[in-house]
Amino acid sequence: MERYPVNKIIPFSSVDGPGNRTAVFLQGCNFDCRYCHNPETRKLCTDCGDCVPKCPAKALSIEDGKVVFDYRKCVACDTCIKTCTHDASPRIRWMTPEETFEEIKKQVPYIRGVTTSGGECTFYPDFLRELFTLCKNAGLGTLIDSNGSYDFSKDPGLLKVCDGVMLDVKSWTKEDHAKVVDFSNEMVLKNLKFLAERHKLYEVRTVVVPGLFDVEGTISRVSEYIKDFPEVRYKIITYRPMGVREKYAKEMNPPKKDYMNQLKIKAESIGVKTVVLV
């Protein structure tokens, strides 16, 4: 049975979709967002071993040249993550979809669904398909939090067991997108359209960093597109420096509250039914 790198499972989450959900975070991402607040989820561990001697709880060890993590001993002090120079984390549990589902089942009947996030969880479509099938059979909702780089149109099997996607639209123009993440947004915008038309778009998100990209242009263009899909929420997120890599954090400033409120009013005036500021 194939195993996949699970970074973290949050049993009760109020911020990963509607109601109370278990959130499953997978390790690894192809985007390099300047404002990423959990950069340690971006890469897989290289087994360099730098973090092992520093772990105060002795939750890390080296066996056969590989870093091994004992999650039962971990005290979540983040020393390993602060030590890592590879944008990775040794705190990974390699789990099968069945094992992951067993962890999710512990929260039934307190949760209405599951959200997979990351990193970029669509790196592992086989995992998602199997996990969501188990969830659906148990009557749980299934949402994907994605950067939109995966071609959802080529994976009808996944869409069949997935209620919807929470899609990041980091900026509207290709040039701006490259500034934010070093990656084209062609697929992101294709997914925006594809998912919305199939009623598989739960939410669009944009993180607001004044000056990094054309914020107002992005908010306007996204709003103009999703206004025809009243079930789609637009979540406009305040950039916060917590967890962001220092070399990027020093170049970015959080937006003012007034500015965020103006953006909300703008999106609403264009016709978006539900705009959420966080």
């Binding site: 049993p11 109020s14 109601g19 929260q107 039934v108 949760i111």
Partner: protein, 515 residues
Amino acid sequence: MRDISMDRVNSTRDQMLETVKSPTLTHEQKVATMANLADSLLEVLDLPEGLDELLNAPIDKQCICDLSEGHAPLRPRYIIPDYEKFLREGSSFLRLEPAHDLLEAMNNLLIIYKNVPSVTNFPVYVGALDKLLDPYMKDVDDETALKLTKMFLIHMDRTILDSFCHSNIGPEATRAGRIIMKAVAETCDTVPNVTMKYDPDITPDDFAIQGIETTLKSAKPSFANHKMFVNDLGEDYVIASCYNGLKYGGGSYTLVRLILGNIAKRAKNIEDFKKNVLPYVLDIQARYMDARVKFIVEESGFFENNFLAKEGLIHREKFTGMYGLVGLADAVNILMEKEGKKGVRFGHSKEADDLGVEIMDIINDFNNNHEAPYCEATGGHYLLHAQVGIASDIDVTPGTRIPIGEEPDEMIDHLRVLSRFHKYFPAGTGDIFPIDTTVHKNTDYLLDIIKGAFKDGLRYLSFYASDSDVIRITGYLVKKSEIEKLENGENVMQDTTALGMGAKHNGHILERKVR
């Protein structure tokens, strides 16, 4: 009546003089304290042998506690009048006609509240306010109804000077229920406490969500598992005082509690506790309660003479008694230590939780086999009650809760422990969660937790915003700003503020794990 020593008389007289001179007690609080001290000189109850040593012991040894009910109870502890009948028929004693409109209904209710006795001298139950007021709101516009409801609530808060005072709403959504919640959110006072009876098959989600929004502003309503209470007590149950499930038109004669931690201290080991020590104390507490109940019914004359009984607003046959307990967690931890298993702690180990269940099964079986006098309303037995503690408790964990400071990291693990214990307590239990509202802006999140919890066998849940001024102490509500006033030596209106201050210092209630 038995004689008492002159020493005891003199020590009581000293306490009375101290009360008269107290700088922090209000006039009403002094009068109530004086009455309790006078009552403490009476010796009329037919007390079981062995009680004295268990009851009148230092705080770290006391095994049975009667919660200041007095030596010669002159009324049942909790009284639940039939306010619907009162509004429909009026009262000849109070010289009130039936209420014809909203103003008369509110005015009549505010009058009767001042005539409903209880252990606190204030009404512990003020009615299913939505059902009482909804018919009278028919011809009143929203704005006027809200204004009158706010005045009605403010009047209660400033004249019912004790927050062991409870109103109910739900499970059905009503216009009055929505207006009451709006008024509760805007006034943010401590009286009356509010419980929403919640049943996912009856209560619409938007009504429950309004309840959640209201509790994150004003620390109420709490949520009661309607299906579970109906199953245990019948459709005519109410939630009164802290969170006590009782019969409408009845009440509870008495509430006495076991202090399980101190009982465990007397045992050699788990076996000795289960076989000898616990059964011995269970029996004495039950017989002490029997004596109290018999005195109230047979000798006090309450049911013959009080207008509530004479006018059919309460019925002796709907009363019961509450067999209380505190400190299940303390008992389990002490017993585990006696077995040399110091690290095996309640709330964190299946072995410890299993022992908790075994202890509850013993208490439950005992209660179901004890024939309680005058308790025909509840099958001839008392009802178990997970008591929330009192201000002077030190190292006593309320009911079957997990001690503050030891709550499991994950809320799911916390809830799973609680779900094993709520079923034992038809006369009330409950758990409280402060919520970080900067993180959890999603009210559906809490509704999912309530729905899951009630499916999982939990009976009663309370939430408040961790940064709120009004907070739930153990079951009752207090304003943190009022505690501060009292700490600075100023008078405060409500007597429960002093209890809240005690619980803050002795019970660490401000240190609950925020979810």
